[in-house]
């Protein structure tokens, strides 16, 4: 009897559509607080004055900014430790994530 255990388990996992990298990218914020405030204000005026053209511009901008995130956040030690835990690599290998005191404003 020929059974390829590795292939059978891999086939089951490959049916999933998630990956650690995709999930981590989704966690990274696309907008800062100022940008969020501006977007909310624009959406208010879009609804109030029915500015459909502006609505399309905002939607296009949102789609673009999500794919072009600012990755400077990644240099934070807390974020690095969060990423290590999230990717499970260190968890599987038994290395515990060190909690760092939050020294950043």
């Amino acid at each position: 009897m020929n059974i390829d255990f590795e292939q059978e388990f891999a086939k089951f996992v490959s049916g999933g559509d998630s990956s650690a990298i995709k999930d981590i990218y989704a966690i990274i914020p696309a907008l800062n607080n100022t940008q969020i405030k501006i977007m909310n204000t624009l959406n208010y005026y879009i609804k109030k004055y029915e500015l459909h053209d502006l609505k399309e511009v905002i939607e296009d901008y949102s789609k673009s900014i999500v794919k072009n995130k600012n990755l400077n956040l990644m240099s934070s030690m807390n974020v690095k430790n969060l990423l290590k835990a999230y990717t499970q690599e260190e968890l599987i290998k038994g290395i515990k994530v060190n909690t760092q005191p939050n020294k950043e404003g």
Binding site: I3, E6, F9, S14, G16, G94
Partner: protein
């Protein structure tokens, strides 16, 4: 086809043994023999790794609560552990291990795992995150804690599994004996003693 190692990790009563049992049973129903420290009808109960038969037939080895006996004490000799992993692969063994945390299992064993399940549960569901360690992919799925699910189990979920003698020295002796008998020569793959 080569054997692989799969881990199932989660707290007590999380559902890790249940998933390992379901995986093993699915292969038993296809005609494979299952060897385990659990008492399950139609499975082969083992008390030592040397109870495993050596042949080329694919088989399942399920070691429940493996942190009882698969810690670093048995893995001090690199040669013995290398022979163990080679044997799992070449003897086409699907090795399933359950434990509370990955850190409770010997590091070399963890590093050889092809797939890992992280398990947790609540009152209604058991949640699994299955990770393909080599490809870096993962899949999340859940099982509902239904009466039908628990009625289908043939093992006592409250029974504590027995300890397994994981002496790699004895295992290595059995490997040497097997290849000697098979080839009628000494095992030419045997690493040189250091």
């Amino acid at each position: 086809m080569s054997g692989i190692i799969v881990g199932y990790f989660g707290f007590q009563r999380s559902g890790k043994t249940l998933k390992a049992y379901l995986d093993a049973e699915s292969y038993r129903e296809q005609g494979l023999e299952v060897y385990s420290n659990m008492n399950v009808p139609n499975w082969n109960k083992i008390s030592s790794l040397t109870d495993l038969p050596f042949n080329d037939e694919p088989k399942v080895l399920l070691l429940d609560e493996a942190y009882y006996f698969m810690d670093s004490r048995n893995w001090k000799n690199n040669t013995d552990s290398t022979i163990f992993f080679n044997t799992v692969g070449k003897q086409n063994i699907l090795m399933l291990l359950t434990a509370i945390e990955p850190s409770t299992i010997e590091l070399r064993l963890r590093n050889q795992m092809n797939f890992v399940h992280l398990v947790k549960s609540d009152q209604r569901f058991i949640y699994y995150k299955m990770i393909d360690v080599i490809r870096g992919k993962e899949k999340v799925f859940s099982l509902e804690k239904s009466q039908r699910l628990f009625d289908s189990l043939t093992y006592d979920t409250k029974q504590v599994p027995d300890i397994v003698d994981c002496s790699l020295k004895d295992f290595r002796s059995k490997v040497d004996e097997y290849y000697s008998t098979k080839n009628n020569t000494t095992n030419i793959r045997r690493p040189m003693a250091l």
